[in-house]
Symmetry: C2
Subunit: 480 residues, 2 copies
């Protein structure tokens, strides 16, 4: 039994990124890894479930402050109990995140085998992937730093490559020696590499023991070690989270694990993986993995395609209705508040469009209509002159801060579940089809004491309706 | 003075059409002529104002039952007082509509000169157009049937053409003899015609005296005359409207004025018009008239175009944000509930897409989120399990029917203006930031007794929330 536990793999899920290459579905406030892009669950949830079950310790997720409640909630929804949710005070790329996770894991067991993986990749065959993890784990346990190499099925120029050692049997399914890393190639070089059979895609997935990777950091990137160690040692538990100490973390350089360690370390090994894999790094990749038909038409959501070829047409379940006519080589992604239409081979330039939107101050550049909070979420349904209508959903047990507003009064109508409402000195339960009035200036609080989500319609009236008209007296989520 | 009045031109605005070639902006419930497509006012409003002022009698609008309040409201907004708003019990194409208008006008003055015009065309230079009307009016007064011919600036295959008489001086600016009508040509024929200088686009605009066109109907389309005459004689005034009698109207054949009269009549005359004109018959025409830049990019609304050429990108003022990247020859029209992306030269196929949407039961095929009613409009802001949130806007003086619901209760919160609310025996004024509750089954009524629009948020709760859960006890708009 003890042996089983020491042989467990400790998954470390990197989920602090906030890419914009899949805008408008991925936005800084709720990025790609948490979105339902392919299939029924988010990429992060799929990653957590792929690395769960026999042979795996509870996963460590490492993420940013703004995503901590999303991580907790999505893990709960996927039925995965985390080992820890580590919060980076600021994004510092992958090297500091991996080292922080390794220091955390090493406190319980320096020999623990870690599997570090991005949480925004697509790996449909979880079973095959776990078999590859088992092979990699054996090598890691013997002291190797193991990378995962995907067998290429096309000369992709969007990925880095791993070069196998000269004496490697490239067809073997075991663990092979790595000769080196190759940056994203041009088309000719990519074709050569794929033809040679000696190059694999670099998936950015690694396995090692905690003490092995800490030693590698000490050797190759010693400048990172002291501040990260101080941040981990100074970390404080906050609800379900482990919050790294902000002050030392502020001094940590922004650097990827590839540059900091992998490209310098010796004796790296590769686990070849033959199954399907994608980093879903842009809309063309989503098209590829959305089961295009014989004409190349991939359609998702309420979509009507007339005589289109080689297109991705995608809308949300609740709309808008999206119609494509006579299109070729086009990606169209429609949401109620933002629409992207791009030449398919240029969809990666959406990053520039997002910058342009930021410059003109469009909230769609970074935020969704729905605003996720520790207690649930809200969205604006209508915004008029001197009034605003919101839908507010509070999770079971969720509790908004005790607050008041200087400029607005609020009408609340509960349409689902039961609310516990405090207004001034009075506390009462308000249930479906009941309403309550919160006068301007009144100290009030909203809670969901029940077992079901509570849905409430809030109608605000007043001269100023900004989110910053709030005085907080008390908050269970330690916000200010 | 008397002479001035008899020389007035009587505009007849045809505004009963419900085309779908400009979906999603034009939908059956609120079609093209009432939409703000180019410029600040609707095409119908622009047409009404173009044919107003010195020399014009108040216009007669002829439209369908569903559009009667839109017509009234848009005329009021444009500051045009109608002579009459004639309601066709059902659409029967242009011939019966023109004849009905002529019979109506002839009752006051058989010699009255009518100008019959579609209300969904674009004619930017109102002054120049009125000068052409003055020329046409003189000929009509002398007994001619006058058509308007637009000087073509390209070999358009989407329009019918007018052939000038052999002896016409094609460059003249007066009134010329017409030799015949030419159906929409193919590209080669169109090029020939434009090169010859003897062909003009048929704008579907006509002038004649009322008695002259009635006589032409009697000669060329006698089968229409009896039922239309009976429908006009049996018409009844209803509020501001003149409602044609439904029973005889049911027997009227569906036929255009071109087929019924124009192509058979002799001695037709043409007024050439040199100014810009378009029937805005599809998105390519909207592109042409939306001031495309040097790259051919026409953008309207919150739109970001990166490296696009020859495109129309159009969104609504309130969003969504629309981004186009690397597009060429594309039309993208975004609304919160519906998005069209089409090859620009195939955008006219949107009609087929609308059919497909109808078949799958998508309300966006024919209806907007906003539902226009005689008393104002409403829209659904959120629809959930057992609840619905609506924004309801009631015009000053507007009065909903006295009604009750079997399955739902309603909370009303007034956010702008003042409502007079009847619930059971009680009548009270409810003003900004006040709410009232309408229990399930209660007989109730909502009115706006004020001088400003009244905006109210309605939160419905109940097991069934369809519009058809309504029992009407009394309705000032004579609905059932």
């Amino acid at each position: 039994m003890r042996d089983d536990v020491t042989r467990q793999v400790h998954p470390v899920l990197l989920c602090g990124g906030s890419g914009t290459r899949l805008w408008p579905v991925s936005r800084a406030s709720y990025p790609k890894q948490f979105a339902r892009l392919v299939g029924e669950e988010s990429l992060f949830q799929a990653a957590a479930r792929r690395l769960s079950g026999p042979g795996f310790a509870p996963p460590v997720a490492i993420t940013g402050e703004p995503f901590r409640f999303i991580v907790g909630e999505q893990l709960a929804e996927a039925g995965v109990r985390p080992g820890a949710i580590i919060i980076e005070p600021a994004g510092r790329n992958t090297a500091p995140a991996v080292l922080a996770a390794a220091l955390h894991v090493a406190r319980a067991d320096p020999q623990a085998v870690m599997l570090v993986a991005p949480s925004d990749h697509l790996i449909p065959d979880a079973e095959a992937f776990r078999a590859a993890v088992a092979r990699g784990g054996a090598a890691a346990r013997e002291g190797a730093i193991v990378t995962f190499g995907i067998r290429p099925d096309r000369p992709e120029t969007g990925y880095g490559y791993l070069e196998l050692g000269r004496d490697a049997d490239a067809g073997a399914r075991g663990v092979l020696p790595l000769s080196g890393f190759v940056e994203k190639p041009d088309a000719a070089r990519a074709a050569e590499m794929v033809a040679s059979g000696r190059y694999l895609w670099n998936a950015g997935i690694f396995m090692f023991t905690a003490e092995r990777i800490i030693a590698a950091f000490e050797e190759h990137a010693p400048e990172i070690v002291a501040p990260v160690r101080a941040a981990v040692e100074g970390a404080r538990a906050d609800l379900d989270f482990l919050r790294l100490a902000a002050e030392p973390w502020g001094e940590v350089p922004d650097i990827s694990i590839d540059y900091a360690v992998m490209e310098k370390a010796r004796d790296l090994a590769v686990v070849p993986y033959d199954g399907a894999w994608s980093d879903l790094g842009g809309w063309e990749a989503i098209w590829r993995h959305s089961s295009p038909d014989a004409e190349g038409v991939a359609a998702e959501g309420p979509v009507t395609a007339l005589d289109c070829r080689d297109v991705l047409l995608r809308s949300e379940e609740e709309g808008p209705e999206l119609v494509g006519i006579g299109l070729e080589g086009i990606v169209a992604v429609a949401m109620p508040d933002a629409v992207l239409v791009a030449a398919k081979d240029r969809a990666q330039e959406v990053k520039e469009a997002v910058e342009a939107l930021k410059e003109k101050g469009a909230r769609q550049a970074t935020a969704f209509a729905r605003d996720f909070r520790p207690w649930g979420w809200f969205e604006t349904l209508a915004l008029g002159d001197r009034f605003q209508v919101k839908r507010i959903v509070v999770k079971p047990g969720g509790k908004l801060s005790l607050q008041s507003h200087v400029h607005r009064a609020e009408h609340w109508i509960v349409v689902s579940g039961t609310a516990r409402v405090t207004v001034g000195e009075e506390v009462k339960l308000v249930t479906e089809n009941e309403s309550i009035y919160v006068p301007l200036g009144a100290v009030h609080r909203l809670e969901n004491p029940g077992k079901l989500p509570m849905v409430l319609i809030e109608v605000q009236t007043g001269a100023y309706l900004g989110e910053d008209d709030i005085v907080r007296y008390e908050d269970v989520y330690a916000r200010e």
